[in-house]
Symmetry: C2
Subunit: 217 residues, 2 copies
């Protein structure tokens, strides 16, 4: 049975692979699971039909084996549990799940805070003054992450779903701006982006975005 | 073997049970697992000894069975997997984990955004104008949550770890301010707070906070 993943029909990221389906499609390619896409316009996201799949009217969703799931972290964890993207060792597996939660709950909110400021409050007079405050908060998190990573190539006992979630958070623009200050973290992201499965997942969404642009032109 | 949970020696919440160890201790009491506490001052949180347990210098951590875990969501998921706080049905179990991620990744960041504004940017001239913008974003999330909950007592097939994580997010002040507009969500939180395990977890931290205050007086 082929999985179905909901994605934006025209992602607002301009084909940079920043929409939250990226982690799900990357995980599926790492796991060798075939999948189809359901492309949705912004209007379709807010319909009852889609909210029955995703109560907050967002992407991605994941349908397979009679399941309908949302939340990229939960979907990637489900794929990881069923297709071997977590360490086999008991303690390392539990720690990898810790890092999945750290990605979406400790790193990503501070990263998204800057996106909210830039996108939703861009016309507000306070935003230029707030950006350095947000950057300082994010810098503290990245420094701690760099210390925790040390000189290991991946967060926990080999590449795992933890790295998929963490790298997808770190690829967002607010983090990318600061990565030059944290060379070990920058190298970690680059190492992940060089994986064939990442490159395939990235190329897929870029081709889709370009085709959509060509259709509109 | 007794689990050990790291908590604040003096929580800044004044005994209101808002620190992130609340979800972990609540889950342990629901599961009937004995636990001890390691109380940490703010200075102790930032030591190398604690950062070896929690790279971001936060609470809670959880130690048991040779594991050292952090991130309240990951700890509660681990307790839930090992002590039956997830639905047994395959699809319902996966959906409960979805709701755990939704709590920490979709609801809580918008709730915490208001806390950051009130606590870290309270002296900034823009904060009074920003609060209604943040409230509008949170209101949209709460409306979607109310629709998803409908008239069910719990998020997924009986009380589960999903409700522990969601209710702990919804008990934070920014959400509590808006709950009167969403009676089904308010009733859901009240239903959870009436559980004996919640009441025990709440009373434990309140007694600890009061004892600490008396010691300082």
């Amino acid at each position: 049975m082929t999985a179905v993943v909901s994605v934006f029909s025209a992602s607002p990221d301009g084909g940079r692979g920043l929409a939250r389906d990226m982690a799900v499609r990357w995980a599926l390619i790492e796991a060798g699971v075939a999948h189809d896409l359901r492309t949705l316009s912004f209007a379709e996201l807010k319909t009852q039909a889609h909210k029955a799949r995703q109560p907050f009217g967002q992407i991605p969703t994941y349908e397979a084996d009679g399941l309908t799931l949302f939340e990229s972290g939960a979907i990637v964890l489900h794929i990881a549990e069923t297709h071997g993207l977590l360490p086999q060792d008991y303690a390392a597996r539990a720690r990898a799940i810790v890092w999945m939660f750290a990605a979406v709950s400790t790193l990503e909110p501070v990263i998204v805070e800057r996106e909210v400021a830039v996108l939703l409050e861009c016309d507000r007079p306070w935003t230029p003054e707030r950006l350095p405050l947000i950057a300082a908060r994010l810098r503290a998190r990245l420094a701690d992450l760099a210390d925790a990573l040390g000189d290991r190539p991946w967060l926990e006992a080999g590449f795992s779903a933890a790295d998929i979630m963490m790298v997808c958070a770190l690829r967002r623009p607010a983090a990318v701006l600061l990565l030059p200050e944290f060379p070990a973290v920058a190298a970690y992201v680059a190492r992940a982006e060089a994986r064939p499965a990442f490159m395939q997942a990235f190329a897929d969404q870029k081709a889709r975005w370009q085709a959509d642009q060509a259709r509109r032109a």
